[in-house]
Assembly symmetry: C2
Homo-oligomer: 421 residues x 2
């Protein structure tokens, strides 16, 4: 498609979203919840047709030699469609964040000043191949009163477009304004670039994608972006740690699902217990096919089959069955290492020392800091936020798992009886 | 100065700020407050020397023909220095936002999950000619545990550099890390551009400057920016308004200080009371030398000496004794007009109708929405936030007057006893 046509279409679509967002912001929770339930029913009712569209995507993906992991992400089946529908019903059951007066106080001159939660407006979401994100994101944005402009991975274009069509047809008759859930039907990157320039229409873009995508768009974006950055996460085993607890946490954080952002990439071990801890730990990891890259001290303790770790290893998010291991002198070095090489995502200490737990919690500058638990819990549902639109590795506006509240902003309301300055 | 040298210096300085920020984040409130008081004393003690530096700036400004208004902003005197010192003492008396656990809850698996307020890290502040902002911003950033990199207007370079020197000398001996308060000594715009690219060191830039500056930097910035945008503010006088209250509020919002962002630029009047309200209102405004630009209906009510308002007028922030006046059919048109032409800063309704007040509060999409009070109250101190680092016209992270809390972010802390997934 021509660049100009893409541009025009994206502008048209986001403009419509902006109009819709004004009405959406003032819909009652009852209307939104009924629409969410109707959307869930429609997905289930039309599951056969969805699977047909998904089959087209799968066919195309196979001819273009997509990896088995990506194929699996792309694939829908009855139970995955059911899970999408249940997700929408869950969102319907969450409390509505819109209109909540967070606080209100009275000034000496009699003015009442309060802060109210309101929708952001138009939220752009750019995501990878999984078509279930389409329904999840649409549901969360609708519940929080935002219009959403979706742009999924090009591999899932047929599935995504069809899902959006179903969600729209199920919600508009129930009072949801047209344009509330829209989808950019262009696979060209130009479409995303254009979207990121439309700061008159789009209030924020949530970027769930690779590093390349973030850099490509980030440099020319005018719309503020909340990005899922890397997860270079750590477990630090303190000298006072319960070593069997440390072993379970380390194993879980590395092995249970190595391809996700809250899995660990590095293990830091206090020198006083390294001799006792590392041999069993490394043996167990190796049995689970984890490649170990160790510092010099690690390799002096467990010599066989350990690749020497380089400076590069401390910085790397493997997203794979690889673990960098470093023996440290103590808590200071552990904190310094994490704050230097980590990506400020999720980091854990295993310790029985109150003072060390307290220092780790205070001094590690990450979105999620753990004592005696696996980093794998960094997730909206696991934290009890109800649902998750993504995990922010930024500090502004939202940090860590983002739930419905993070899809809102606030405004001040001021009630007077004639006050002037 | 050569571009490369500026670049190197800005990098060096922000790198040092980053190092300082790590220590600052964990300082106790007591240490910070003592430093703030010492900084206040030092400013007063050295006021003569400050005035000498300020005289250099004033001299240069006069030769370069700065406007009287800008000269007044630039000028310091004993009482303005006293006010700067008192500002620092006020900040010392505010509660420390750092370390506050906003909420903490328990998950079914026994994990405790909490959210703690923590400093942003390094805050860049780019501001206009007034040297008092230097002390205000340094104080607020210190109290909130952030390192600050200041870049004031080039006209105030001597005053600003000297004030930063005093603040640093007064605080470092009391335990504030060197590099916590730093100043970019280059007047070239290149320095600001460089700062805005250093997203590895700088966590946010607060931009208090003209539209030109915002656009110039915004397009190539990698650091997230919180901008003071325009204030195109409105008063809407409803058909049910107490007309003498409406007159007082309108007059105050336009005339009391027309050059600031929370002054109004447009007055909207319900058609049913326009005939009764406008003649007196316009007479009083004209007596105060306000130029009126009216819609056709306004001009049919008060014909003499009213400039016809154009489409452009509805969009314009005059920052001057000019007021655009429009007669509207009712609340719907007023809300539509404000959401279309306004800048989402501060907007007020004057009404005695409960239903109209409620609708206006809900449907006007602005940082501050008023019922029966002047828009001039949009200000951190007036709202009771204690102090103000700026007024954000954005929706992300901070909206409206920004106090100490807006200089923080949060992190999740998770306390377990061995939980794994």
């Amino acid at each position: 498609m021509l660049k100009m046509d893409i541009k025009d279409e994206v502008i048209k679509l986001t403009n419509k979203a902006k109009q819709a967002s004004r009405k959406l912001a003032n819909l009652s929770c009852g209307v939104k919840d009924k629409a969410l339930v109707s959307m869930a029913e429609a997905l289930e009712f039309q599951s056969e047709a969805i699977l047909k569209e998904n089959a087209k995507d799968m066919e195309a993906a196979k001819t273009s030699n997509l990896s088995p992991a990506l194929l699996d992400r792309l694939k829908l089946n009855e139970s995955r469609i059911k899970a999408m529908a249940d997700g929408l019903r869950d969102v319907a059951n969450l409390p509505d964040p819109v209109g909540e007066v967070i606080s209100m106080w009275k000034r000496p001159n009699g003015l009442q000043v309060g802060r109210v939660q309101v929708p952001l407006g138009v939220v752009g979401i750019i995501y990878e191949a999984r078509p279930n994100v389409t329904a999840d994101a649409a549901g969360l944005c609708l519940k929080s009163g935002n219009a959403v402009v979706l742009r999924g991975g090009s591999e899932a274009i047929n599935s995504n477009q069809f899902i959006v069509k179903i969600l729209t047809e199920a919600s508009v008759p129930l009072g949801i304004p047209e344009g509330s859930i829209s989808f950019i039907p262009f696979t060209e990157r130009e479409a995303v670039r254009e979207l990121a320039k439309l700061n008159n229409y789009v209030d924020v873009i949530i970027l769930r994608g690779g590093k390349g995508l973030i850099e490509a768009i980030g440099s020319e974006a005018k719309v503020p972006i909340i990005a899922h950055g890397e997860g270079n996460c750590h477990v630090y085993v303190d000298s006072t740690a319960d070593l069997s607890m440390a072993e379970e946490i380390t194993f879980n954080a590395k092995v249970q699902r190595p391809g996700v952002c809250n899995a660990i990439e590095s293990l830091l071990v206090h020198q006083d217990i390294a001799q006792e801890f590392l041999p069993t730990m490394i043996k167990r990891l190796k049995e689970a096919k984890v490649e170990i890259r160790g510092c010099e001290k690690t390799r002096s303790i467990v010599s066989a089959g350990i690749v020497p770790a380089t400076q590069e290893d401390w910085k790397t998010e493997y997203l794979d069955l690889i673990l960098a291991v470093k023996v440290v002198q103590g808590l200071d070095e552990a904190i310094e290492h994490i704050n230097t090489y980590g990506s400020s995502h999720s980091d854990a200490i295993v310790t029985s020392s109150y003072a060390n737990a307290r220092r780790f919690l205070q001094e590690v500058d990450s979105a999620a800091v753990y004592v005696n638990a696996s980093t794998r819990f960094t997730d909206g549902s696991e934290f009890g936020l109800g649902a998750e639109i993504g995990i922010s590795t930024q500090k502004l506006h939202a940090r860590g798992p983002m739930g419905l509240v993070e899809l809102t902003t606030t405004k001040f309301i001021i009630l007077g009886d004639g006050q002037i300055r």
